[in-house]
C-alpha cells in the first residue's frame, strides 16, 4: 500500500509540483483566510488587553493565591513548550530515520515549533508580574545581589528553551534556502530582493549542495537530543521540588512523551485545514495523515502507561502524602477536568486502532482537538492539584481561574494562529526541494522495477496533474 503511494509520486511533474506548492504564497488571500486572520488578531488583542490590565492593576487580578502560586500561566507555558516539541521531532528525527512521510509535515511542524516556543516564552514573563525585569534570570555579572544559581531548574530552563529556539530557527531557516531561491526566481521587484537576500544567493550548485547536505544531517543530529532535553528540563521545574505529585523520577520521559503526543495532535489540527484551504491534498495525502495517527496512537499509549505508573507508584510507595495527593487528584475538587483528561488522552486516541477512523479527515480533526484539550488539562492537573493538596490539610487551598487568565490563554492561541497564518503566506508550507527529491527517488525506484520486469511500463498511470480526493 505504502509503496504504491510512494511510486505514484514518480509521475508528478516537477514544475507542476513547484507551482502547486508555491501557489499559496503567490496568490492573494481568500475570504476564508482573511476572516481567520481577523479572528486570530482579535483574539490576540483580547490577550493583550488582559495583560495590560494585569500590568496596571497587579497580579491580584489573577486567581493566584497561596498555596496555588502556579496555575494557568505555567500550564500554558508547559503546554506550548510541549506543542513545540514534535516540530523538531518530525523534522529532525524523521529525517534521520529517512521516513517517507516527513516532507508532508516537516516545514509546517518546524514553523509550529518556532511559533509555539515564541508563545511559550511569553508566559514565564507574564507570570513574573514585573515583566520588564525578565532579564534577571539571565546569568551575567551584576551588582543586584542576585546570585545566578546554576542548580536551579528555572535557570536551566532558560538555557534549554533559548537553545532549542535558536537551533530550531537555524534548522528551519537553512532548510528553506532552496525554496527561498525558487521564490526569488519567480518574483519581481521588492519581493525578488527580499527573497534574494533570504536565499543568501542559493543556486543549488555542487559547491553549495555538498556542504549543505552535511550541514542538514548534522543539524538534525544535534537537534534530536535537544528535543529530549527541553521537556526534560521543564519537567525538572516540578520534579526537583519535594511536593508529592511532582517529586517523581518518571517525570522526564513522561513529559517528553506527553509533549510529542500533544505536538503531533497539533500538527494534525494545523495541517488538515492547510491541505484543503490551499489545495495541497496531493502532497499531504491521507496516507501521510494515517502515519501521523499511528504515531499519535503510540504516544498516547506511552502517556497512558505513565499515568498508570504514577498511580501504581503512589500506591506501592506506601507514602501517605503521595497516596493522598493522587487520591485528591482523581476525587478532589478538580475531579471533572481530571476525568475529562483521562478520557481525551487515554481513550479517545484508541479510536485510531480503527483504520476507518485513521482515514476519516473530520474524525481525526476532532480527535486532534480533543487530545490538545486533554493535554492542556493534564498540565493544569499536575500543577494545580499538587499545589492545592500538598502535605498538611491545614495548608490546602483551592484555585479559581479568573477571566483575565482565560483572556490571556485565549490570546496565546490567537497569537500562535496569527503567526502560523502569516507564515503560510511568506514561505511554502511544504519543503519544495524535499518533495522534489522524493519524486526523483520514486522515479528511480520505478525505473528499477520496470527494468527488473516487476512493473510493466503499461501499468503506468497517466501523468495527469495530481489531484487526490480526500
Amino acid at each position: 500500500m505504502a509503496q504504491a503511494s510512494e511510486l505514484r509520486e514518480a509521475d508528478y511533474d516537477l514544475r507542476q509540483t513547484s507551482d502547486d506548492l508555491i501557489r499559496p504564497v503567490e496568490t492573494g488571500p481568500t475570504l476564508r483566510y482573511l476572516v481567520s486572520v481577523i479572528f486570530a488578531g482579535l483574539v490576540t488583542l483580547i490577550g493583550v488587553v488582559c495583560w495590560g490590565r494585569q500590568l496596571y492593576v497587579g497580579m491580584g487580578v489573577t486567581g493566584l493565591m497561596w498555596p496555588v502560586m502556579w496555575a494557568v500561566y505555567i500550564t500554558n507555558f508547559v503546554f506550548w513548550i510541549g506543542i513545540a516539541h514534535s516540530g523538531t521531532l518530525i523534522s529532525a528525527i524523521l529525517y534521520l530515520f529517512r521516513a517517507k512521510f516527513r516532507p508532508a509535515f516537516s516545514r509546517s511542524s518546524e514553523a509550529m515549533t518556532i511559533f509555539a516556543v515564541a508563545t511559550a516564552g511569553l508566559f514565564p514573563i507574564l507570570h513574573l508580574g514585573r515583566a520588564w525585569r525578565f532579564y534577571w534570570v539571565l546569568p551575567y555579572p551584576n551588582e543586584r545581589r542576585i546570585w545566578p544559581n546554576f542548580r536551579s531548574p528555572l535557570v536551566l530552563d532558560v538555557f534549554a528553551i533559548s537553545t532549542y529556539l535558536t537551533v530550531s530557527l537555524i534548522f528551519w531557516y537553512l532548510g528553506m534556502l532552496p525554496d527561498m531561491a525558487e521564490l526569488r526566481d519567480r518574483s519581481r521587484g521588492w519581493k525578488r530582493t527580499l527573497y534574494g537576500v533570504a536565499s543568501l544567493g542559493w543556486t543549488g550548485s555542487l559547491r553549495q549542495l555538498s556542504p549543505y547536505m552535511k550541514l542538514y544531517i548534522l543539524l538534525a543530529g544535534l537537534a534530536t537530543p535537544l528535543v529530549l532535553s527541553v521537556h526534560t528540563t521543564v519537567s525538572w521545574d516540578f520534579s526537583l521540588s519535594l511536593l508529592p505529585g511532582w517529586h517523581e523520577e518518571i517525570f522526564p520521559p513522561y513529559f517528553v512523551a506527553g509533549a510529542i503526543f500533544s505536538g503531533l495532535a497539533m500538527v494534525l489540527t494545523l495541517v488538515i485545514p492547510l491541505r484543503s484551504w490551499f489545495r495541497l491534498k496531493a502532497y499531504i495525502t491521507i496516507d501521510h495523515l494515517e502515519r501521523l495517527c499511528q504515531l499519535i496512537l503510540l504516544t498516547s499509549s506511552i502517556v497512558t502507561f505513565s499515568y498508570a505508573t504514577e498511580y501504581f507508584i503512589a500506591w506501592y510507595s506506601g507514602n501517605t502524602y503521595e497516596h493522598s495527593a493522587y487520591w485528591m487528584r482523581a476525587f478532589g475538587h478538580y475531579w471533572k477536568p481530571f476525568w475529562f483528561m483521562i478520557a481525551c488522552n487515554c481513550f479517545v486516541p484508541l479510536l485510531f486502532f480503527s483504520r476507518r477512523v485513521r482515514r476519516n479527515i473530520k474524525g481525526m480533526f476532532i480527535i486532534s482537538i480533543l487530545i490538545n484539550v486533554g493535554m492542556w488539562l493534564e498540565r493544569f492537573i499536575i500543577i494545580v492539584t499538587t499545589l492545592a493538596y500538598s502535605f498538611d490539610p491545614g495548608s490546602w487551598g483551592i484555585y479559581h481561574v479568573q477571566w483575565i487568565e482565560i483572556g490571556i490563554t485565549a490570546g496565546s492561541f490567537g497569537w500562535f494562529m496569527l503567526q502560523f497564518l502569516g507564515f503560510v503566506k511568506i514561505a511554502p508550507s511544504l519543503p519544495v526541494a524535499e518533495v522534489r527529491k522524493d519524486i526523483l527517488e520514486a522515479r528511480r525506484q520505478k525505473k528499477a522495477l520496470i527494468a527488473a520486469g516487476l512493473l510493466t511500463a503499461a501499468a503506468e498511470p497517466p501523468a495527469a496533474p495530481p489531484e487526490v480526493p480526500a
Binding site: D13, W147, A181, G201, L206, E441, R444
Partner: protein, 195 residues
Amino acid sequence: MTPANPPMPPPAYRGVVGGFQNEEELRGASVLADAAGLRYEAFLPAGDEDLLRALRFRTEKSGVRFWTLFGGIGGGVAAMALTIWTMRNWPMVVGGKPIVSWPPFIQVIFEWTVLLASFLCMAGFLILSGLPNLYLHPAYRPEFNVDRFGLFFPCSRGEEALARALLARAGAEKIETVWDRGLGRLAPPSVEPPS
C-alpha cells in the same frame, strides 16, 4: 542605468552551460567530462545524496564536520567555565551542596555544546559554500532549481567546441555560452552572448 555611472566592463567569457531533463543524462555527461578531462560544476534541483556522490566522489569528506566538532567542544568548555567561574565568584550554598556541584551544570554544558556546535556548523557551511553571495553564478538559470539539471563547463574558448559537443552528445538542451556581464546583485542571470 544613468549616464553618470561608469561604463560597464566588457562581458567576460566564462564557459558553456547546458540543461538536462533527467539525472541519467547528467550522469552520462559527467562521465564523458571526466574522460575528456573537463572540469565541471552542476546545478541540481534537489539535494540528492546518490547523485551527489556520483558527481563529486572526490569531496566526500566535508569540512562542516570539523567546524561542528570544534563548536561543540568550544561550547562545552565555555559553559563549564561559565558555571564554575560564576559559582565561585557568587558563592551560595544551596541545600548543603558544594559550591561547584557539577551534576546540574551538565545541563548547561550540554545546551551550550549543542548551541555552539550548531552555530559553527552553520558558519562552516556558509564559508565552504561561499554564501551569502548575492551575485548569482552567471551560468545559473531558474529552471535549474525546478526541473532541469544544469551542467556548466568553466572552460577556455579553445575548449568550447569540445564542451558543446559533449553536452549535445549527452542530450543537453539549450546549450549556451556563459558570459559574465557583471550585472548587479540578484540580477536575472544572463547567458546570451553580448550584443
